[in-house]
């Protein structure tokens, strides 16, 4: 299978303010969020980054989306380096995270057109794609309603659809089902599987074991910014369920601190 994402020895540190030091109960001014992380993903697979809060999952995805730069190391996204060619990387990926929001004032229709234009999608392609995605997610009925007036679930669907306006081959979702009701969560989960069927590569971060078990082909478990285990889901869960595998590794790393 063709490797479309290769992350190599990526490290990211943040400088802590005195207030943050106090909150984190540490004397160190530097927090290493991601520490020499490496992994890869192939075309047409769903790769899951599993870890507790503060493990470095979101920081890793933010680096892949070129929102922040790694201190050292690099990642190559479909042939483009996140360090040297960030603009190219942005054109190749779709990124969905709760950190990125849509302007409440506009309608889903306007936002889809706007982001398509920014990605240079031709008008005829855009209209066809918009019609398909809006229908797939039931947005067509709300296409002309301002985002401010949509339900939380519908807003999440619009965000998802807008992030896919340019039909990217690599899609990065940070906690894709977080805060969603069961119906919307199911729609999103089914869509992830559909993307895989269409040959797209999906990278997700989550702490929900069931989501990983349901959709992922390969998994990387991150604890304290380090990749502890990385392999196919079937390999990792050969002898015990994923949850037990995770907690065995967690105890090994952190002792009995649960």
């Amino acid at each position: 299978m063709k490797e479309v994402l290769k992350v190599e020895n990526v490290t990211k540190t943040f400088r802590l303010s005195a207030k943050q030091q106090k909150l984190k109960k540490t004397d160190s001014r530097i927090l290493t969020a991601v520490d020499g992380l490496s992994f890869s993903a192939n075309k047409g697979e769903i790769f899951g980054l599993l870890g507790p809060n503060g493990a470095g999952k979101t920081t890793t995805l933010r680096m892949l989306a070129t929102i922040i730069k790694p201190d050292s190391g690099d990642a190559v996204v479909d042939g483009a380096s996140i360090v040297k060619q960030p603009a190219e990387v942005r054109g190749k990926i779709g990124f969905l995270t709760s950190e990125v929001k849509l302007e409440d004032f506009f309608t889903p229709d306007y936002l889809f057109n706007f982001f398509s234009d920014l990605h240079g999608v031709p008008d005829d392609v855009r209209e066809k794609r918009k019609s398909e995605l809006f229908e797939r997610f039931g947005i067509d009925k709300f296409a002309q309603v301002k985002v401010a007036n949509l339900s939380t679930g519908m807003k999440q669907k619009v965000s998802l659809v807008v992030s896919l306006a340019h039909d990217p081959d690599i899609i990065i979702f940070d906690e894709p089902t977080n805060g969603l009701d069961v119906i919307t969560a199911k729609v999103v989960t089914d869509f992830l599987l559909e993307l895989r069927r269409n040959g797209k590569t999906v990278i997700i971060s989550t702490h929900i074991f069931s989501l990983i078990e349901k959709v992922c082909d390969r998994v990387g478990i991150i604890i304290d910014g380090k990749m502890t285990v990385c392999g196919s889901l079937s390999e990792l869960t050969q002898s015990k369920p994923l949850e037990d595998v995770f907690f065995d590794i967690y105890r090994e790393r952190k002792g009995d601190e649960i």
Binding site: R62, I68, A87, K101, L102, F105, F106, L118, H119, G120
Partner: protein, 398 residues
Amino acid sequence: MKLGAFTVFKKEIARFFGDKRLLFTSVIMPGLLIYLIYSVMGNSLNSMMSDQTSSFKAAAVDIPQSVASQLEKQGFEIENIELSEVDRAKEQIEDGDLSLCVVFPDGFENVMSEYAGGSKTDSAPNVKIYFDSADINSSHAYSVTVAMLDELEKSVSNVFDINNASQDDGYDVASEEDAAGAMLSMILPMLITVLLYSSCVALAPESIAGEKERGTLAALLITPVPRSQIILGKVLALSVMALLGGLSSFLGTFMSLPSLMQGMGDELGSISANVYGPVDYVCLIVLILTTVLLLITVISIISTLAKSVKEAGTMVLPLMLVVMLVSFMTMYQTETRTEFYWYLIPIYNTIESMAKIFSFSLDPVCIAVTAAANIVYSALGIFILTKLFNNEKVMFNS
């Protein structure tokens, strides 16, 4: 591929014109409010001036007939009282029942003539006027009385005149246009600059710091459009919006100016925009455009550094003080600067150049230096903004 800057520009404009409340508060309301406030101010001042001829009630001791008749012509109703009644009159003044009380020395006219003729050389006769400075009517009555007595004193001891009104030989060589220009060049550059600044500050923090705060700017930053284009689109759109706001304020000011000037008792009530030619207006537009561009860029830099709209509002305060200070400083400047390096100083250059236009001494070199300086500073600002937009610590607070 469509130009990213143009797409961002269109989005910002669509947001602005689509939001009726924003459109009203930033374009229609400033001009309307300025027009209403200045017109009301002008009318109030005007009616105050005409009120000055309204009736005053005065008590007088030993008032000469000639003085009494002069005062009566000025709207005074005079009651002759004895010296012993002065204390009662003072109480009446305090209660507002009397405008003032004037006490003349006994035989005032004779004493005055003797003093003026030099036959009497001890201290000059003293006219006492009791009034209440806290009362508007009493103050006016006092001013009118003093002015009238000053005239009387001059007429008695007149040795020479200066610009005798009865022999007006066109002493002031300035034309009405020049006089209007001098007044406008003092007021309008300051007003226009402050109004443009107000427009810019009402829009830029919301568009930059607001989007950053709401997380909608991040959605733009994860597209392949270069950051410089995103900034260019935003800055140009904000400049257009600020110009509309500034134009509205300018129109409000200009339309209310005649009534304000009339209210100030000036002959400038008949000021017309026709006194300036097309070249003046073109130069004015160039100055306004480049100044707005510069102001928007600077406020955008400050807004980018802020974490929220509220913080941006606080951070732009020192800039506002600088703009106000420079504006007021130039208002009272006695000499015009001709050396080109003065026109490299932002804001100051705009006000100076505008003052030259309004005073009919348009200097193309100064205008060109000002416009070029503003454009260069704006380009430098956009370069700084691009650096800031590429800084993850600034943009994502990481």
